[in-house]
């Protein structure tokens, strides 16, 4: 029997991930002698909505401090949200975590994983690779002890490492190999959804393409869904199907990768794309140099958050905040000048 639920617990859309009105503010505290006072909020993620389909890669770009990592961590409830909802496969993620139902929480954790930004700090220096890769199985108790070793070797093989690497420690590996170990660990429990937080940052260029290629291969083999975060536009545009552009805690544009690259609509996206140094710019495009820097997220500018740096600012931009509206099928943009 099929019952259509009307409660907020189940969402009937086909998207694997659906994020609705996600908000995360961090308090800014001033520590006095007697008590601590809150003097403001950092608007790290401010009313963000999007979806990711199964097997798709959504790229998330933006400059440092725009809230990319906070958004990723909030989706996984690694930091509690201020408000908003996230559905994973129709299930309300935050409610599961808030319910305290341990078996359900563990199940969600298995399905949603993250590849953390820095493999130098994230791999425990006192554990061997074998211990690092066995840990997920032990924590989740999904495999018998005897089978874990086999599983570890399989994981190593999957990411292109050798069996003898199992008894080594993280410091014995190069940056690229460490990244491979992190990937093996993130995929140990066969998640459906993986967040890649700066997957190729701080890697040498010849190693970068190796890792990207591995991630693409694994996605195809395991039908993974990725949310790929990076400030390196070249890499991200290479792996993504669709791209979301973030500025000061808000999404300013979402579209498929071709559109973002060839005909971006938002002035910020245009500037961002034009700022990427490319080899052989046949198009003879003009570079848009933005003035100034990203303003503080504690007191974001009124109206459109981009207006102080925007080359096309009008009066309305200073007063009213533009909404993310669909300007073409599947192409969303938040700009007064585009939506009229």
């Amino acid at each position: 029997m099929h019952v259509i639920s009307t409660s907020s617990k189940v969402n009937n859309s086909e998207h694997l991930i659906e994020v609705k009105g996600l908000v995360k503010y961090f308090p800014v505290l001033s520590r006095g002698i007697i008590r601590t006072k809150r003097i403001g909020w950092v608007h790290a993620v401010d009313n963000v909505s999007f979806h990711i389909d199964e097997g798709e890669t959504l790229g998330l770009v933006g400059e440092s401090g725009c809230g990319k990592t906070t958004l990723a961590r909030t989706i996984l409830y690694l930091i509690p949200p201020t408000s908003g909802t996230v559905y994973f496969d129709g299930e309300n993620v935050f409610e599961v975590f808030k319910s305290g139902d341990k078996s359900k929480i563990m199940e969600l954790r298995r399905k949603m994983q993250i590849l953390f930004q820095n493999p130098y700090t994230f791999l425990d220096p006192r554990m061997t690779v074998k211990e690092i890769l066995s840990e997920p199985f032990e924590v989740h108790g999904v495999l018998d002890k005897e089978k874990i070793t086999d599983a570890v070797f399989k994981l190593l093989d999957m990411v292109g490492l050798e069996p003898y690497h199992a008894d080594r420690y993280p410091h014995e590996f190069s940056g690229g190999q460490r990244r491979r170990i992190s990937i093996a660990r993130a995929l140990a429990l066969e998640p459906k959804f993986l967040i890649l937080d700066e997957p190729v940052a701080s890697l040498d260029m010849s190693i970068r393409s190796q890792i990207l290629k591995l991630l693409i291969k694994l996605q195809q083999e395991k039908k993974l869904t990725y949310l790929c975060i990076s400030h390196d536009l070249n890499s991200i545009l290479h792996v993504s199907d669709r791209v979301a552009v973030m500025y000061l805690g808000k999404f300013v544009e979402i579209a498929d990768v071709e559109t973002i690259f060839k005909k971006p609509a938002h002035p910020y996206t245009k500037a961002l794309i034009s700022a990427v140094p490319v080899i052989d710019p046949k198009t003879g495009r003009e570079r848009i140099i933005l003035q100034g820097e990203v303003p503080s997220a504690i007191n974001p500018p009124k109206g459109c958050r981009f207006h102080p740096r925007c080359p096309h600012t009008k009066d309305i931009c200073k007063k009213r905040e533009p909404q993310l509206v669909e300007i073409e099928k599947g192409h969303l943009c938040a700009c007064h000048l585009v939506s009229g």
């Binding site: 260029m205 190693i207 393409s209 990207l212 545009l237 490319v278 052989d280």
Partner: protein, 322 residues
């Protein structure tokens, strides 16, 4: 005038004597820089880019030693100068922007102090005058509100601002040659675009010659007139920009260019260079790229290929070309 050679690095070797063994960080680097041009120095980590720059200024840190080679600046060998002569060259003739402005600026001194220090080292001016010059410098590098910024400490400023200050310090005595070591590596793309644009503008204004060290092929493409590619402490190829990016001869250069993920290039067509950057304590014999090279032949394992001229200033070190 433009083709006159300002700097000529010949057979430079710099070794680091560490406990783990001798690290051959630079082991035969050759290139020259012409007046007023921008030379892009490209390579992965450990290729010897930074050590080469430090050697030009003769500030290689211990336990590093310049073993052999020549660094001819205006025809005079910098390696034969004594320390007092070098003091006159550093900052005044050749200046350097270091890789990381967060660590190359002293956190204990204000911006004004750090700029005034350089100015007073090379010019006979009093403190007041030096401060005035410091403010002017900050204005040249596009820092708003320069009068109050000189009282700030480096850690009070953003990454882009710090980089501008590092540039201001390097420009303090209007050097003829500027060595910029990864000047935009830790910056966001929009700030990177600002800084690169600004470097171009400065070059025009002061008629400077620029050596731009970078691992980012895109940055080098947009900035450089000529490019030198380094791998594991050796020069593998030198040519003008268009030749390097369109008709690269060395297999490493070719692989580098095709392995860079690029906007507009299809996912499946991304090439991969197998293997890792070699260990410089025990570098591969013969050509250092041979373990990763798809064209490697027996001779590549045995003999180090010499840097030969293919004509038109296109130099390559590979056994495939003889």
């Amino acid at each position: 005038m433009k083709d006159e050679i300002l700097l000529n690095v010949v057979g430079l070797k710099v070794y680091f004597y560490t406990r783990a063994g001798v690290v051959r960080a630079v082991d035969g680097v050759n290139f020259n820089v012409r007046q007023k041009e921008t030379l892009g120095l490209i390579g992965e980590s450990g290729s010897g880019k930074s050590v080469t720059c430090l050697s030009i200024l003769r500030i290689v840190p211990n336990p590093g030693k310049i073993i052999s080679g020549k660094i001819l600046y205006k025809g005079e060998d910098l390696l034969e100068k004594d320390e007092s002569e070098m003091l006159n060259i550093r900052g005044k003739e050749i200046a350097m922007i270091f890789q990381d402005p967060a660590t190359s600026l002293d956190p204990l001194f204000t911006i004004g102090d750090q700029l005034a220090e350089v100015i007073r080292l090379h010019r006979k001016v009093d403190k007041k005058e030096a401060e005035k010059l410091a403010i002017e410098l900050l204005q040249t590098v596009g820092i708003p509100d320069a009068e109050s910024k000189i009282r700030n400490y480096p850690w009070e400023l953003s990454g882009g601002m710090r980089q501008r200050i590092a540039i201001a310090r390097a420009l303090a005595c209007k050097p003829r040659l500027l060595l910029a070591d990864e000047p935009t590596t830790n910056l966001d793309v929009t700030i990177q675009a600002q800084i690169l644009d600004f470097l171009k503008e400065l070059k025009e204004k002061f008629g400077m010659t620029l050596v731009l060290v970078s691992h980012d092929m895109g940055v080098v493409y947009e900035m450089a007139d000529r490019v030198a590619v380094l791998y594991a402490g050796r020069t593998c190829e030198i040519a003008d920009k268009n030749t390097i990016f369109r008709e690269a001869k060395h297999p490493y250069t070719e692989a580098l260019i095709t392995s860079v993920p690029r906007i507009g290039v299809r996912r499946e067509s991304l090439k991969v260079i197998p293997g890792e950057v070699p260990d410089l304590v025990n570098p591969p014999s013969g050509c250092r790229f041979h373990p990763r090279c798809k064209y490697a032949e027996p001779i590549c394992r045995k003999e180090q290929p010499p840097l030969i001229d293919l004509g038109g200033g296109h130099l390559v070190a590979c056994h495939l070309y003889k």
